[in-house]
């Protein structure tokens, strides 16, 4: 019989559809996993309310569990407490940075350029290529980069 820990392990292999460098568990959007009598319930919370990835993630979770032989799968959405970037795991933060995305930082801006590590950076725009990111630029290597903004 499948266990919740096993399910979490499987979920950790599902990439975020828009930032495939991190998994859905790295992002901290999987709030609960319950495995009972062969049926599995996964509770997820959306990142941004309009983020199109949310629906895609629910579908991927459903498909991944069915592929592993779980026939009774329920993916529930839960709004409260609202998702916060504090729930991104340490591993997730490291993966973001190695993928060229500066991880969220409580100071409100990136700690350093994810490419050359310079701390001399400036904001281009509070909004970026997805709802969760802002656009920044490095004053030293001059490269633009994404910053995963705090929420």
């Amino acid at each position: 019989m499948v266990t919740a820990a096993q399910v979490r392990e499987w979920l950790s292999e599902i990439p975020d559809p828009e930032i495939p460098a991190v998994s859905v568990t790295d992002l901290g959007i999987v709030r609960e996993v319950e495995a009972r009598d062969g049926s599995v319930t996964v509770v997820v919370t959306p990142t941004y309310s309009g983020c199109p990835a949310t629906a895609a993630i629910s579908l991927q979770i459903d498909a991944a569990l069915r592929d592993r032989g779980i026939s009774r799968v329920e993916v529930q959405q839960r709004l409260s407490p609202p998702w916060t970037t504090d729930w991104i795991s340490e591993e997730g933060r490291a993966k973001l940075e190695s993928h060229g995305i500066a991880p969220p930082n409580p100071a409100g801006g990136p700690r350093r350029c994810p490419l050359c590590r310079s701390t001399s950076v400036e904001r281009v725009s509070q909004f970026g290529s997805t709802p969760c990111k802002a656009q920044w630029r490095c004053r030293d290597c001059l490269e633009p980069f994404d910053y995963f903004k705090c929420l």
Binding site: S49, G50, S125, F127, P131, Q135, L151
Partner: protein, 248 residues
């Protein structure tokens, strides 16, 4: 209709109609960064609209999509402000700022609602509205205190939109019942904070608030929308009207 459903329509329709308006800029904004920012703001608002309309739908036995795409203009409960046309970038950002300065304190107050569903949607939305207000305020300041051309356009934008900015704070019987039930704050109680936010931003922007105290109303109770709402709906609802129930 029960009070929570009616209230959720007011919240959801503000987000839906403004989200649609802002999305009209997609691919047309004056700079790439602004295009992306506007599209993201629209996306947040459409997401918030879905949450509110789902809540309304739970009480009305309809889906969020049915509420968005098959109601007529007189069934919409959004403020007149958010249905006003985009005109130029200055009008768009002024409209956004006047709305955000009201929306954020409202959502913050709703986070303590006696209705857990209202509170959780508000708490989620408030985080996004914080970013919206940051940006719309900064843009109003930059354009107001910018070139003679941008200053003149922002002054015109204020003249056009100001008469639509007061409706948000006019309480009616529904508001009184919502206050008694602890579901929502009295809208008039949000006015002082809105005025502080707007006054300080306009001062930095070297703009004067128009003096008129006359405000159009009729959006939040659906009694008299402006002609612009119908035009939005013809485009937004076309597909479900022409092909009812179409899904893909």
């Amino acid at each position: 209709m029960d009070d929570i459903a009616e209230f959720a329509l007011r919240m959801g329709d503000n987000a839906l109609v403004l989200g649609h308006r802002v999305s009209e800029w997609c691919g047309h904004a004056p700079a790439l960064e602004e295009d992306i920012a506007l599209a993201n703001t629209a996306l947040d608002l459409i997401g918030q609209a879905r949450m509110w309309l789902e809540l309304a739908g739970e009480h009305l036995g309809r889906t969020a999509d049915q509420l968005a795409f098959t109601r007529d203009a007189w069934d919409f409960r959004n403020l007149l402000l958010v249905e006003q046309p985009n005109r130029d970038f200055g009008v768009t950002m002024t409209r956004q700022f006047l709305f955000d300065a009201f929306h954020l304190p409202l959502l913050t107050a709703l986070s303590g609602s006696s209705s857990p569903r209202v509170a959780e949607i508000a708490l989620k939305s408030a985080k996004e509205a914080t970013y919206h207000l940051d940006r719309s305020r900064a843009t109003v300041v930059a354009l107001g205190d910018g070139t003679p051309e941008s200053h003149a356009r922002m002054r015109d934008a204020l003249d056009i939109l100001w008469p639509y900015s007061g409706e948000a704070f006019l309480a009616d019987d529904l508001d009184t019942r919502l206050v008694e039930a602890g579901i929502a704050p009295d809208p008039s109680s949000l006015r002082a904070e809105w005025e502080r936010t707007v006054t300080s931003a306009l001062a930095e922007a070297t703009l004067d608030a128009p003096g008129s105290g006359f405000f159009h109303q009729g959006g939040r109770d659906g009694s008299r929308h402006t002609e612009h709402l119908g035009h939005i709906l013809t485009e937004m609802q076309f597909l479900q009207r022409a092909y009812p129930g179409a899904a893909w």
